[in-house]
């Protein structure tokens, strides 16, 4: 059965279902990360002392990761723009780039965590580290989830371009919104944990 407004826009809202759905989901994600930031605030304010981020964490490495993630947001939006220009191969190039940059982010984090664990710095060691691991860990899970979706649209899901290119373009746009959101969270996480 065809669900109305899956692709075509409803006139009074000017939107299709997927666009509303993804923004609603992002709203819930704002509340999820909001709770974690609120926890960070309460714990830090109540702590007798709190180390400055750069004394515990690797700022240059995280700066590199920030640049990687922001770049992946650009490639993501370019991937969608390519579809809007009906250039499928360019889409694949940009989407592939997004996935590779995401992978780079994850690999860097793997080494970052690995280094801390080698030094005996565990989530249980102190609250700074507990907050660091939990916040970046949950963020990392979202990066991974986004990459899985992106990989699907780069690979098997790309068949949809042949049968319903508008729908495919929209779905890439919606995945892009999720990906940009993950970047957005990092834009706040990075200074909060590493620089303050």
């Amino acid at each position: 059965m065809d669900i109305p407004y899956t692709v075509e826009l409803r006139r009074d809202t000017g939107l299709n279902n997927g666009k509303i759905g993804i923004w609603l989901f992002l709203a819930s994600e704002v509340m999820l990360f909001g709770a974690l930031f609120a926890s960070y605030i309460l714990i830090r304010v109540g702590a007798p002392s709190w180390p400055r981020g750069d004394t515990v964490l690797d700022v240059p490495l995280a700066t590199f990761n920030t640049i990687v993630l922001i770049s992946s947001s650009v490639t993501m939006v370019m991937a969608w723009a390519s579809l809007m220009r009906r250039r499928f191969e360019t889409f694949r190039m940009y989407m592939g780039g997004t996935i590779l940059l995401g992978l780079t982010f994850l690999v860097v984090k793997y080494f970052e965590y690995g280094h801390h664990l080698e030094l005996g710095e565990f989530p249980s060691t102190n609250n700074f580290l507990a907050v660091y691991y939990t916040l970046t860990g949950l963020h990392m899970l979202h990066v991974f989830g986004g990459m899985v979706v992106n990989a699907y649209f780069w690979g098997p899901g790309a068949k949809l371009w042949k049968t319903n290119p508008v729908w495919f373009t929209n779905r890439v746009e919606h995945s892009g919104l999720f990906w940009h959101f993950v970047d957005l969270v990092w834009i706040f996480l990075f200074p909060t944990l590493y620089l303050l």
């Binding site: 819930s28 926890s39 939990t134 949950l138």
Partner: protein
């Protein structure tokens, strides 16, 4: 292909059958993406868990009525670890209590009220062929199912299920046995289910409503589900975050919630400290307060539909009710710390939360008053759904009014954590919401099955339940005012001050056991009516809303041709009309 800007007319049913093969048993009845099948799955799951959660309480009520006494026969079933010689251990009581609350709220009421009624009725009531995201709908049910299995399974782990209250307050919950870990994992499944469902409901309501169905022509039930969905969407994630943090505390040794200086059974804990235990309470209640509105709003929606239908009159004050429910939804996010008045907050913040709490009582009163006034001058039909809906009004009234002293800081001090609180919230949820849900079952059963439920059995179910609910919960106001704490496995029998009120526990217990007996006619009625109930057509209640234009039961795709709304939802007794109702979906 449909045009990009107009309404896409659903193709006639025959054309679809030609396009895809008939679905097999598993895709049609188990892994279905049809909102009606999913709604029934949610409803049946919810009802089974309500029964299970009720059974847990019936067991608890033995020790509350007869503290320390051995429970004959049934007591032997639970083994030495839980009921040695048939007498209940306090740890087992705590297990039963924590899981009773958790199961009733998250596996009973919400799946039935939102997952069941919302999924089944909402698309039909707005004239839609299904939900906006049918596959996500299916996933949301199976997340609930997995959460339910996890919660049930937790009874079997060493140490038993969660025992730290449905509220899982830290630090107790962090040092508790492994059942608590399963509780946290179960909650993550349940929260995911609700989040997916919420975004589906909101998108569907906005985008898939029929032509002519403007927001102010929505049945009140639709508004109720719409606001509820926003509460679920925005309030649940903080609890998910908190759940992850508590899991980290339990499993990874972090100290998010573990304060310094903690001493357990005379031993100071090592490697523990620096955390904020009140943080858990903030994050928990940030969800749990809106959650109580999730529990009541669908019920109010159901009651509104049934009252309009059985008074043969439009609802009085529809607009006020709509604005009230929106305002209520918004306010529900900023009252939560009235559950935390005893945690040492300063007077300024106590005043803030007290004020917002008093303000939030206003829209509830508006809605209840409008429903009561709606009865005035009506030609009331006293069928079973209407009886339950009518009883909802005073029962919710009692529950709501008794909440006021709890929302004021000064009166909350002696009442907090006593049986008064238990009485208050059970009045709103048990003879409140559950009565509304029962009303809804009797009302929409014909639409779902094509048959009516038996009226006589329904009336026995109703009167027995109404009397028993009051027998169970009214005495708890008395024991609570006397100062008896909640969560005591022996109802305070060790305390002198509690002695004069101990006999009330016997009254409540017998009320509860009798209440169970009165559910038997309902259970029998439900199943036998599926086969033997009186057959009905599309609109057995002569109702006005769009779901009554679909066949009973509706086929896949719901409607033949796209429905359209031509007027408001409650055009009953319109002067000059040929019959005493003009349906919303009928062209003039």
């Amino acid at each position: 292909m449909s045009s990009p800007t107009g309404v896409a007319p659903p193709k006639p049913h025959g054309a679809h059958e030609a396009h895809h093969e008939e679905l097999g048993f598993w895709r049609k009845y188990v892994f279905s993406t049809d909102h009606k099948v999913i709604g029934i799955q949610y409803a049946v799951t919810g009802l089974l868990f309500l029964l299970f959660g009720f059974s847990l309480m019936m067991l608890m009520r033995w020790n509350l009525a007869y503290p320390g006494a051995a429970l004959p026969i049934i007591g032997q079933l639970f083994g030495e670890a839980r009921m040695p010689g048939g007498t209940m251990l306090p740890e087992f009581y705590n297990e039963l209590g924590a899981m009773h609350g958790t199961i009733m709220v998250f596996l009973g009421v919400v799946p039935l009220a939102v997952g069941g009624f919302g999924n089944f009725v909402l698309p039909l009531q707005i004239g839609a062929p299904d939900m906006a995201f049918p596959k996500i709908n299916m996933v949301s049910y199976w997340c609930l199912f997995l959460g339910g299995i996890t919660m049930l399974g937790s009874f079997l782990v060493p140490g038993g299920a969660a025992q730290s209250g449905w509220t899982s307050y830290t630090p107790l919950s962090v040092i508790a046995g492994s059942g608590q870990t399963w509780w946290l994992i179960g909650m993550i499944f349940l929260i995911t289910s609700s989040l997916l469902g919420a975004l589906n409901f909101i998108t569907t309501t906005i985008q898939l409503r029929a032509k002519g169905l403007t927001f102010m022509r929505f049945p009140f039930f639709v508004w109720a589900q719409f606001v509820t969905a926003f509460l679920l969407l925005l309030a649940f994630p903080p609890l998910e975050a908190a759940g992850v943090m508590q899991l980290m505390d339990r499993v990874a040794g972090t100290n998010f919630f573990m304060p310094s200086g903690l001493v357990v059974s005379g031993q100071a804990l090592t490697n523990v400290g620096g955390g904020n235990t009140l943080l858990w309470q903030h994050l928990f209640w940030f969800l749990a307060h809106p959650e109580v509105y999730v529990l009541i709003l669908p019920g109010m929606g159901i009651v509104a539909e049934i009252i309009a239908n059985n008074t043969r009159k439009p609802l009085w004050g529809y607009r006020s009710m709509v604005y009230s429910i929106i305002f209520l939804g918004f306010m529900s996010f900023i009252v939560w710390a009235h559950h935390m008045f005893m945690t040492g907050m300063g007077t300024a913040m106590a005043a803030f939360f007290q004020t917002t709490t008093m303000i939030i009582s206003i829209p509830s009163v508006v809605i209840l008053t409008a429903l009561v006034i709606s009865l005035w001058g009506g030609s009331i039909r006293f069928n079973t759904p209407m009886l339950f809906a009518l009883a909802f009004l005073p029962m919710f009234g009692i529950g709501g009014l008794t909440g006021l002293p709890l929302g004021l800081n000064i009166s909350d001090i002696p009442l907090h954590d006593t049986y008064y609180v238990i009485a208050h919230f059970h009045y709103v949820v048990a003879p409140g919401t559950i009565f509304a849900l029962m009303a809804g079952i009797y009302y929409w059963f014909p639409k779902a099955t094509g048959r009516r439920m038996n009226e006589t059995l329904g009336k026995v179910h109703f009167w027995g339940s109404l009397v028993c609910m009051n027998v169970v919960f009214m005495p708890m106001f008395i024991t609570g005012l006397a100062g008896v704490s909640r969560r005591l496995f022996d109802a305070g029998s060790a305390y002198d001050f509690a002695q004069p009120t101990m006999h009330w526990n016997v009254v409540s217990s017998w009320g509860a056991w009798l209440l169970a007996v009165f559910q038997l006619p309902f259970i029998f009625n439900f199943f036998s009516s599926i086969r033997n109930g009186e057959k009905v057509g599309e609109n057995p209640w002569q109702a006005t809303t769009i779901e009554w234009s679909a066949p009973s039961p509706p086929p896949h795709g719901n409607f033949v041709g796209a429905p359209q709304a031509y007027r408001g939802p409650y055009e009953y007794s319109v002067p000059g009309a040929g019959k005493d109702f003009v349906p919303q979906y009928e062209a003039s």
